[in-house]
Symmetry: C2
């Protein structure tokens, strides 16, 4: 396991996005408490995260935005672009593809997979859509390391074996079906229903007169 | 603040989804270690979560699936359907609307808001799309409590004041722009780039020969 906790990795990704936005606005330096404020956390947390990756800064002027972007990128990104595939090219698959590929990133969605005859063989959102039957072949040909599952939950379980066989190393599961993979394949279950139900719960609690923590 | 931690609320939502799926398959009882295995956590965690909401069970047969569904629903759901609005009816907004409204739930997306002339005034995915200019009016008319932000990140900040003014109580922010709201409005920033970057990081680490924790 990596020395850096998952939550720190998530925050580093978030810091970088904010820093890139600052950089685009011509901001050259940022204080830890400003960065913290934007993300709704404490300055101590920001400093702890950056200490974990070995970054220290002249605190009088704040962090140098450009230097910090490069520093975080060296941690998060590999030397080369990493290829990603999308399984299930419905609305969600298309939304995710458009969203990710419109950004400058070391991650690139290079192919999608579906079983729908109207999609297979087409170029959708600038990437080819292949028949799921050719999944393993295309993964190896295109050097795909990560797959995003945006298919119906009912078929998610059927994908576990093909994903293992194809040599995929990371899975981002957007379906509501929790999956398990053997050690060596990093899995993130990311069900969007859960988060809406959570928001609804805290709204309900607030309405019932209980204090809500923001 | 509610007595139940956010992470427990998330897991309860996930347990319920699994239990509903079990129920549909005719399964009447489930052991904590089975439920735990499906979600990749320990049985101790499952029992602790259920203890927190005051649920105890005959451990010889495992949990009664139907009883546990009702028990969790009583915690998570309010007595009435809660109305949700979507701001930004692009691919992501449409994917989310289709996804949520196809499920039986106490949450219902009842309206969307956009500024695109081709969308405003139309019925998209069975719900009306209103001009953002009428946001406050429609929120009150339709009793919308929660909004989902699936608009471009560049305009997300401009929505904070209208959302506060309209009396919204919960915000699920899918844009990459972190937002802050005053106390009393529950906010969940849920940027999908972060999670893909996290998966990519752990894949890269694994490739570099570091053990990866699943």
């Amino acid at each position: 396991m990596s020395d850096i906790p998952e939550k720190t990795i998530e925050r580093l990704s978030e810091y970088r996005r904010t820093l890139l936005s600052c950089h685009n606005q011509g901001i050259t330096h940022i204080f830890s408490h400003v960065l913290a404020g934007i993300h709704g956390i404490t300055a101590v947390q920001v400093r702890r995260d950056l200490m974990l990756i070995g970054f220290s800064s002249d605190t009088k002027k704040g962090y140098d935005v450009e230097v910090l972007i490069d520093f975080i990128s060296n941690i998060l990104d590999g030397p080369n672009v990493m290829h990603v595939g999308v399984i299930g090219m419905g609305h969600l698959g298309q939304a995710l593809t458009k969203y990710f590929n419109s950004r400058k990133s070391k991650l690139r969605i290079v192919a999608s997979f579906d079983v729908d005859e109207e999609k297979v063989g087409q170029i959708i959102d600038d990437i080819p859509c292949f028949d799921m039957a050719h999944f393993e072949h295309q993964v190896q040909k295109l050097d795909i390391k990560i797959v995003i599952l945006s298919c119906p939950a009912t078929i998610a379980s059927d994908l576990v074996v093909p994903i293992i066989n194809a040599g995929i190393k990371g899975v981002l599961n957007f379906t509501s079906m929790p999956l398990n993979f053997p050690r060596g394949i990093f899995l993130e279950n990311y069900d969007i229903t859960t988060v809406l139900e959570k928001v609804a719960y805290f709204v309900k609690e607030a309405e019932e007169g209980v204090d809500v923590q923001n």
